[in-house]
């Protein structure tokens, strides 16, 4: 160990003796590592922010929604889910744990002490809390009792509180939604933005209240999220749900579905696939650039071995074994490459942070520690691999020839 530390110092001293050359040699490794860290940091930051926004939706959550062709939608032929569909899911399909219908209630502006805001108003039951993973930071969510008694209560998002300039703790305040007064019972946890759209500009009211207030509306929109009891059976449950909903909507055999059931995390999965592909392509490019960098290191190490032939002869005369010489040159190559890698990591992090901050609404760059360790380890490995040829050339030198070398 002590001996290795010493060889390490010797290698460092040797690189230090040719600083400019060492730097230029390792530039290939440096740029390769920098590129990978910069791109990974941006991609990872993006991917982290996407996953964290969707992480509340587990993979056991499915969503039923009505299918609407763009054309029909424009003609005003809107296909909607019915409350019978909800009941069919709730009571006729085995393997479903919870059913959470969500109805959008376009009730218009929300007022509080002369200030006005138009949030997304959603009618939900208590199940939504678990199924959709909405949580409150203050107060409570809609309860079963609110639903039964059609209480005029509301759980608001942080944007709504802020824009209406409500107190920090808005519980107990009254707001006017449309033409009805609602008492605030909870504040939703802040969720941030997805693609620049705020997830906090919304309010939840009891499903039954939303249903009765929008009963005469043309354009309400409902979707139903539900969780399956056993994740392994998710596909069978989906099959059963499809059959039941077809029956409830009276779709004749042979006719296409006018609704669909999606896995809630399918977007995240798709996004992760894109990220994985991008990462794989990137790894290929980095592989090539590190290969080029490695060849540069091998080239300079071969020159260095030739230049130091006499020194190698002296060391051999003093009793250095082949292994001593081999280790010394390998360490030098590995260190050269590792230093390039380390500088590349630092510059790559800075570049990633710079890129992320230049794009508006872009999540901050983030590089997992293991990526940095892998990058450093890989660059050192490149040095060792490409150092083998020069180092073994040095180790094999004949001491007499080497001593005579001018």
């Amino acid at each position: 160990m002590n001996h290795l530390a010493e060889a390490f110092n010797a290698a460092l001293a040797s690189l230090n003796a040719h600083r400019l050359r060492s730097f230029l040699t390792t530039l290939g490794i440096l740029i390769g590592t920098m590129a990978v860290i910069a791109v990974v940091s941006v991609l990872q930051g993006f991917s982290d922010s996407i996953s964290s926004q969707f992480s509340d939706l587990g993979s056991n959550t499915l969503t039923l929604e009505a299918k609407n062709e763009q054309e029909n939608f424009r003609r005003g032929q809107i296909n909607r889910l019915s409350f019978e569909d909800v009941d069919a899911l709730r009571f006729k399909v085995s393997g479903i744990e919870r059913v959470a219908p969500i109805i959008s209630a376009p009730l218009g502006a929300t007022l509080y002490r002369g200030r006005s805001v138009t949030p997304q108003v959603l009618g939900a039951t208590e199940e939504a809390q678990d199924v959709l993973g909405v949580d409150t930071s203050i107060g409570r969510f809609i309860t079963a009792s609110d639903e039964r008694n059609s209480r005029r209560v509301v759980v608001i998002g942080t944007d709504v509180r802020n824009e209406l300039r409500m107190p920090e703790n808005p519980i107990g305040e009254f707001i006017l939604i449309g033409r009805e007064w609602f008492r605030v019972v909870g504040l939703l946890e802040k969720r941030g933005e997805i693609f620049g759209f705020s997830q906090d500009n919304r309010v939840f009211i009891p499903f039954s209240v939303a249903r009765s207030l929008t009963g005469t509306f043309e354009r309400t929109f409902m979707e139903v999220s539900f969780t399956v009891t056993n994740l392994a059976e998710v596909n069978q449950v989906k099959e059963r749900a499809m059959r039941t909903v077809r029956a409830s909507r009276g779709i004749e055999p042979g006719k296409p579905d006018d609704f669909e059931i999606k896995a809630a995390d399918s977007f995240v999965k798709q996004f992760n696939r894109i990220t994985a592909t991008a990462t794989a392509v990137l790894a290929g490019i980095v592989g090539i650039s590190l290969l080029v960098g490695g060849i540069g290191i091998m080239n300079i190490m071969l020159v260095s071995v030739t230049e130091r032939t006499r020194e190698i002869g002296i060391l051999k005369a003093l009793g250095a074994t082949r292994r001593d010489i081999l280790v010394q040159f390998l360490l030098e190559a590995a260190l050269l490459s590792l230093l390039g890698g380390l500088i590349g990591i630092v510059l790559g992090l800075l570049a990633g942070m710079g890129i992320a901050s230049l794009i508006p609404n872009f999540p901050p760059a983030h590089v997992p520690i293991w990526v940095m360790i892998a990058a450093a380890g890989f660059s050192a490995l490149v040095g060792v691999v490409f150092g083998i040829a020069p180092a073994s050339k040095a180790a094999k030198l004949d001491p007499i020839e080497a001593l005579r070398y001018e």
């Binding site: 010493e6 003796a17 006499r310 060391l315 005369a317 003093l318 009793g319 074994t321 082949r322 007499i400």
Partner: protein, 229 residues
Amino acid sequence: MIELQGIVKRYVLGDETVLALAGVDVHIGRNEYVALIGPSGSGKSTLMNIIGCLDSASEGRYILNGRDTSSLSEDELAAVRNQEIGFVFQSFHLLPRQTALQNVMQPLVYRRMPPAERRERAAEALRKVGLGDRLDHRPNQLSGGQRQRVAVARALVGEPSILLADEPTGNLDSRTSAEIMSLFDALHAQGQTVVIVTHEPDIAAHCRRTIRVLDGHIVEDYQNPARAA
């Protein structure tokens, strides 16, 4: 201590075989002071390389301290060079980027000696050759004579059986040469076995025994007339 029996060394140069040593028998005992002389091309350098375990013989046996070196592997030969041989070269062969102290410490590195002990022994060796105040100088900050003394310290630091010097004064002026030779004389007086390869009669005259090599044969081997002590 050094026992050469029927040493033959052949080199293949292209399609020609050159006979550098044509059967050499030498015995050198402990605390001898030997000059190996001969014109260039005589085979004396080859003989020195074999004695120094830098090269091995094509035929014959070389027994060093009772150990037959002909069958040793390259790494074992490296260990023998490290433990038993102290080299001094004509052009000093110091490591240019290292200080005098580091140069002298280098052979001990290959003995896996702890750094503190190595440093202590190297400093002691440099004091012995009169460079106790030049430990941190680099070779280019030292005169030729000082460089050669660093080389001598490096050769001695491992307490080798043989001090093997190849034209040690070849690159030095006559006054510095005399200094270096008196250093060798003193080392011999302290019990060190010294073998000097040279073509200068003045240098050979310092030694107690002269071995003359010519065309791969030993042509003369005699004790020098006793020098005035």
